[in-house]
Symmetry: C2
């Protein structure tokens, strides 16, 4: 049986970069969870003494602080800089970008529409860089009763879908004279989805590794299931069953955006150990 990994799967560029940074720096405190994956956070704590703090108020006598992938607010960063602590920025560059855009657009007098979830740490951070007026919306309807200025800038939370972003943009174009659109959507999630689609079309068994509560993992599993009836969603290698692979010729594997590579490797090793064919 051939075992084939999807062309894109698991951790995105920003998450990989942050973890590498945390491993290199060691003994640091991260402001908020570095990434959204508890097993990985535990591993970093155990092997590299990386401590997770709730917020900057929780800092006591730490020497090194790491800013997590989603970023923090401008105000928190300023507070942090006043403290006697070395700062390492692991904010994903795809998140730093909209922060910079918001700061610059505000300077140029634009009000800013942010397409995203108001309560998401990434969006809170990005919004904090707007010094004019910021509107955080998930739907164009939320803009309907707002008196918009003549010129407006628009950015998006990195994980949103382009077609939904367009809806907001198209609404704004009809409402105001100038719309300055910055496509800040990161295509990592969609690359994973495209790759699992391609792989599941040629596989006769598919294994998706990731949290059963993770939205992006469930999405991957749904795509796999559509193209390959024998698709399974597992969190660890312990859930694997030998009979899934009997008489199968091509096993495809993918993983959610919050699934560390070492879990995926354990899954592959166990499937190989079944010694099918």
């Amino acid at each position: 049986m051939i075992i084939e990994l999807a062309k894109n799967y698991g951790f995105c560029f920003g998450v990989k970069r942050a973890i590498k940074k945390a491993e290199q720096i060691k003994d640091a405190a991260t402001i908020g969870p570095l990434i959204h994956n508890n097993e990985e956070i535990s591993r970093l704590q155990k092997n590299f003494n990386v401590k997770t703090l709730e917020n900057i108020q929780a800092l006591s006598n730490e020497k090194k602080a790491i800013i997590r992938t989603h970023g923090i607010t401008k105000q928190d960063l300023e507070e942090l800089r006043k403290k006697d602590i070395e700062i390492f920025d692991a904010t994903c560059p795809f998140v730093t970008k909209p922060q910079q855009i918001c700061e610059q657009m505000s300077k140029e007098g634009y009000e800013v529409v942010i397409f995203g979830d108001e309560n998401h740490p990434e969006v809170k951070g990005v919004k904090s860089y707007v010094s004019t007026k910021a509107y955080v919306v998930l739907d164009k309807k939320e803009l309907q009763n707002i008196k918009l200025p003549n010129k407006i800038a628009v950015v998006s939370q990195t994980t949103k879908k382009p077609e939904h972003f367009m809806e907001i943009v198209n609404f704004l174009i009809l409402k105001t004279k100038e719309v300055r659109v910055f496509n800040t959507i990161c295509d990592a999630t969609f690359k994973n989805q495209d790759a699992i689609k391609e792989l599941s079309l040629k596989s006769d068994v598919m294994v998706v590794v990731g949290g059963k509560n993770s939205a992006n993992t469930k999405q991957l599993f749904l795509i796999a299931k559509t193209n390959c009836e024998d698709s399974y969603l597992i969190e660890t290698e312990e859930e694997l069953k030998k009979e899934w692979f009997l008489d199968k010729k091509h096993c495809g594997i993918s993983a959610g955006a919050s699934t560390p590579d070492w879990i995926i490797q354990k899954v592959i090793a166990k499937i190989e150990n079944f010694r099918i064919n």
Copy 2:
């Protein structure tokens, strides 16, 4: 019988403004036809000695030049300024705007996409203000094989449909990092269309006045016909027939964007003279 004019009909703001200017200035030469209506051009020639020249090369010893509603190219304007002639600008302000935007965006380093007809005088004029690179397109497909820069500005010919403009914008958003969108579409045409729709729904006879070859007039007639079976398209009052209005209670009237008001008034006068009811 009630005779009711559509809420919006005939000449738009820019055309009205240009004609008023030509009447006030008198004895001037216009560079290109002032507006796209021969009867009105003849009237201006006859009553106000306004001469229509093909282009600036046709100028001889004229003292006053009027720039027509659609504008001219930047290069032609510069040539004109070198001549010993007084210049009056009747370019529609809705056309001056995209010209200024193109000039400014070029200064800021943006390449420019113009959504419009390459051969239309308005578009030729607007394009001439781009000093970087301009792409004139009617369909997003024309942009498919172009290597686009990271930042691009977009304007539209004033008479285009917003939904088609969006298609170009949405395509660009996926292809590049920053899209600066200027909605330069003028809603005069659509206001005439909305108004005739409303009026034709309550009328039992409709008269649309305008050129039988005029695209926007034909569009108005089609809308009228959809809602009111007894709709007629005429160029002058001479085509009116009394029997059209027998037993009718509500007569709606509208006119294409190139139909002068004095023709419409003659039509109304003649219908009133039929003394129906």
